[in-house]
Amino acid sequence: MPSSASTASSPASPASARNTDVVVIGAGLAGLTAARRLVAAGHSVTVLEARDRVGGRTLNHDLGDGQVVEAGGQFVGPTQNHVLALADELGIDTFPAYDEGAAVYVHGGRGTRYTGDIPPDLLALPDIGVTMARIARLTRQVPLHAPWEARHARRLDALTLDSWIRRTTLGTGGLDLMNAFLGSAYGATAADASLLFSLHYIAGMGSEGVPGTLERGIGTKDGAQERRFVGGSQRLSTTMAEQLDGRVVLGSPVRAVEQDGRGVTVRTDSGAWTCRRVVVAVPPALAARIHWSPLLPPEQDALFSRLTFGRLMKCEAVYDEPFWRGDGLSGQGVFRAGSSVCSMFDNSPPSGKPGVLMGFLGGRQWRAWAHRPAHERRGAVLRAFAQVVGRGALRPADYFEQDWTTEGWTRGGPTAIAAPGVLTDLGAWRDRPFGRVHWAGAEHADYWNGYMDGAVRSGRDTARAVIEQES
């Protein structure tokens, strides 16, 4: 955490403020992408970052010997063309997430091997099929740029995804497996999100000309979990920050933004910047906590305040070798209700050594375990891993957790979700510029909302809008 996050000194007067064309608030993927584009267009840019690091919700964990593993966002896949193009520009390669061998489905404490993306739960399969088919049909009716204009939008937005699935299925299998997915995707359950928001989220799991599908969202091969970045996903941001050559100021949480017809003053604990435009690339709920003068429009303030993050922890165990691979296992596991984690993956570096297993503890599982003593939580996670790969998982060489709710400049993860009513009442305010202030971030994307690709898209689109305004 930046040292300046805890104490505020006297803000600088405008007379002593530094001047730049554009201030970007937040040095995650969206902010850095926007800054890079703006610099390329000839603008002077300063990026103000609250933390003492760049990368936002991407974070590398050092495994030693030059190896890293991701403690934040990590997967990329087909149709995520913007983050993949950025990686290409930066010279960062991808490698396939380990997907050889069988996955394991855990239900009632018993593991069953399977291949493909759909767990072998005979009783749940009809519900899963019905749910996926209905979602596919409904997502086609949701306009990505304006989901509140969908046919029956208010009706769809009055329901939670949970209540809709319960209405349309016989058992709880479809709902349980949807929650296993949402535990990592939302850091929440289907009961926390509006049906319309969820349809929009799924409809965006594609790209222009390639409709979004739930299958792509949950899949490894040909899906959103297909590949990872060599050197870890945070490398995208550290490389962009290096290229921005001193324009990124760390440890500078923005406290206030004041604007009038002539320009904008951005105040941090250590000084002020004056500029013509501001790009705010921090999570919406944190943007709402900045002191705005004049105040944000009430609808935008209400929307941002309600777009709070889910609750997610990544739990990772490090072993000398990925021993499960020799047993014909991919290290992937899906847990139906009742387990301490919702899903898990082989998260080993591309060399395959050391072996790393990573489990998502999100939503309901986070609520159950986040406040338990650390050793009890570790025990529960490792026992869940053992249900998938065997008792060898119980004795890792190392174990670490990244709880995104304890990151003061994120406050949860992996993305913001909208409860019923929010999208239809307030959704139109999501990206609307506020005077000279523009918005960017993974939550401001229509495609791959909440993902790294969404963040890069949004950063690019917002930079384009600022450049147009300034030309």
Partner: protein, 170 residues
């Protein structure tokens, strides 16, 4: 009155007695290792004589029962005795854990655990028949529970070195 049935299983756990005692004394944690306990619905933390805790237990197939246990006897690091209700047609249910410290050849510490229940089958011959049918399952469940307990303690690692200062109970 029907004769008392006793079912006993014994296992050697490759984990220290101190940790076995700590975990078995935690009345909120039985769902994590006792086979058939789906949820602890009420508890009083570390077991104390005279106090109670309640569980939801799996019985047959999807059927469950609500049980309440009272802690009757604590002999630290050696023996724990609880009495339970809610297992009809079995009456006078008593659960006994007994422990003995072991030292393995390599100098590491282990624990011998004995897991017993005593009860009186009700419903006459029907109850006695049910009892005979359930005993093999009970024995298997006790062995599974003790293996679960061992796995739990192994997975939690070196608790003494663990910093739990930030943990809270909601």
């Amino acid at each position: 009155m029907a004769a008392v049935t006793e079912v006993t299983e014994r296992a050697v756990l490759a984990v220290p007695l101190r940790r076995v005692w700590e975990v078995t004394s935690a009345t909120d944690r039985y769902a994590e290792w006792v086979h058939g306990v789906l949820e602890v619905t009420a508890h009083h933390g570390t077991a104390e004589v005279g106090r109670t805790y309640s569980e939801c237990n799996r019985t047959v197939g999807p059927l469950t029962t609500r049980s309440t246990w009272t802690v009757r006897e604590i002999d630290p690091l050696r023996r724990r005795v609880d009495s339970g209700t809610g297992f009809e047609p079995m009456h006078g249910m008593t659960n006994i854990f007994e422990f003995r410290r072991l030292t393995f050849d390599d100098g590491t510490e282990g624990t011998e655990m004995t897991y017993s229940v005593r009860y009186r089958p009700g419903l006459g011959i029907v109850g006695r028949t049910i009892d005979k049918l359930q005993q093999p399952g009970l024995r298997k469940a006790f062995q599974t529970s003790m293996r679960n307990l061992e796995d739990l303690i192994v997975a939690e690692g070196d608790v003494a070195a663990d910093d739990d200062s930030g943990a809270t109970t909601p």
